[in-house]
């Protein structure tokens, strides 16, 4: 009797622990070997056959196709440099340098990877269309309401994700230091 009770208890706990851990890792996006530059994180290996099992499972669950290693690399940011989570009701300013790449794009998504509907049909900027100052620098303002210059609308959603994709770049698995790949700084400018 005690054996039966014990094994039932064990199996229940095991199932709860195991499935809970799987759900947690796949919804929170736990993946190993991230290349972190400031608030930006990339997983260059996810675009190759060396993709780790957690990233494989996550990609299969969400239905996305990772950026291939010979194509480019995608950096994800969910917070600013100070660790404040991206809130679409706040204003964030992105400025600084980008690593060498033939082209780049920066896109705003919902946490599920969907675009956010807005009146000006603006979801991203490419390196070609962004408005720069005389020194070639740029500033992007991510905000719910219209701003002058490079305005990326948030649509006022609670949480958003920014993805910075570098195409035809040397940044990848071998990149170790932030010196090789300076990524733009992100700062919150009020809510």
């Amino acid at each position: 009797m005690r054996l039966l009770f014990g094994s039932c208890f064990t199996l229940l706990i095991a199932a709860a622990l195991g499935l809970g851990a799987t759900w947690f890792t796949l919804t929170r996006g736990v993946a190993f070997g991230a290349l972190t530059i400031g608030a930006w994180k990339a997983w260059p290996k996810s675009g190759s056959p060396d993709i780790d099992p957690y990233a494989r499972a996550m990609v299969a669950r969400t239905g996305e196709l990772p950026t291939g290693m010979g194509d480019g690399v995608a950096f994800y940011a969910r917070t600013d440099d100070a660790g404040n989570a991206f809130d679409g009701r706040c204003t964030f300013r992105i400025a600084g340098m980008t690593p060498t790449a033939r082209y780049w794009t920066v896109t705003l998504y919902t946490p599920e990877g969907r675009l956010v509907a807005n009146t000006i049909d603006r979801h991203s900027f490419t390196s070609e269309e962004i408005v720069r100052d005389n020194d070639g620098r740029f500033t992007i303002t991510v905000a719910p309401l219209a701003r002058p210059g490079n305005w990326l609308p948030t649509g006022g959603i609670e949480q958003f994700v920014l993805v910075w994709r570098l195409y035809d770049t040397a940044i990848g698995v071998a990149t170790r230091t932030t010196k090789e790949g300076p990524m733009p700084a992100i700062a919150r400018k009020g809510c």
């Binding site: 706990i13 095991a14 010979g70 995608a74």
Partner: protein, 182 residues
């Protein structure tokens, strides 16, 4: 007391096994992975342009809206596949994915080094059957081995600004992927 701890230890160990096996089984079990989504929209062994990435009409999550994309959902059981893709003015890339969304090969227009990207996709068994002299004479022939008989070829062309999207889409429209009869 000791017996209780043993039960808990067993539960944690078993939980770890459950966790690892579910993570490993996820790619096989997923019903909404990229291949399944595209299977409803695309025929086999033909290059099909995808609808523009718009809010509320995304085919897959985290697609780059600055790109026009076309997909060839391939099945190599009938023979090797030939991909011909003219490059657009800005930036064009080809990425090969297995049935389980693993990007096993990617190349861009500059690496391909020509006005047209031409690739032969085949399984390891089909590659072994390619006559050796043919392999040598066609030195510029790029052969890619697919780890799985089925998968996806995704062709992407960048529109550096929204006004250039028709140009990018036009470049993709001329791309083909066809089974080569053996």
């Amino acid at each position: 007391m000791v017996r209780g701890l043993l039960w808990i230890l067993a539960a944690v160990l078993l939980g770890g096994i459950v966790h690892l096996s579910t993570v490993l089984a996820m790619p096989q079990a997923a019903k909404q992975d990229a291949y399944s989504r595209l299977a409803q929209l695309t025929p086999v062994n033909a290059m099909v342009p995808l609808a523009a990435t718009k809010a509320g009409a995304e085919i897959m999550p985290f697609m780059d809206p600055a790109f026009a994309a076309a997909v060839c959902r391939y099945d190599l059981s009938g023979g090797p596949l030939k991909l011909i893709a003219p490059v657009s003015q800005a930036y064009t890339s080809v990425t090969f994915y297995t049935r389980r969304s693993i990007a096993f090969y990617a190349i861009n227009d500059r690496a391909a080094g020509r006005r047209t990207i031409e690739l032969d996709l085949m399984t390891a068994a089909q590659h072994a059957q390619v006559p050796e002299d043919e392999d040598v004479t066609a030195a510029d022939r790029l052969i890619i081995e697919s780890p799985t008989p089925m998968g996806l070829i995704v062709l992407r062309a960048l529109a550096p600004e929204p006004g250039l999207m028709p140009m990018a889409r036009q470049a993709l429209a001329a791309a083909t992927c066809q089974i080569q009869s053996q």
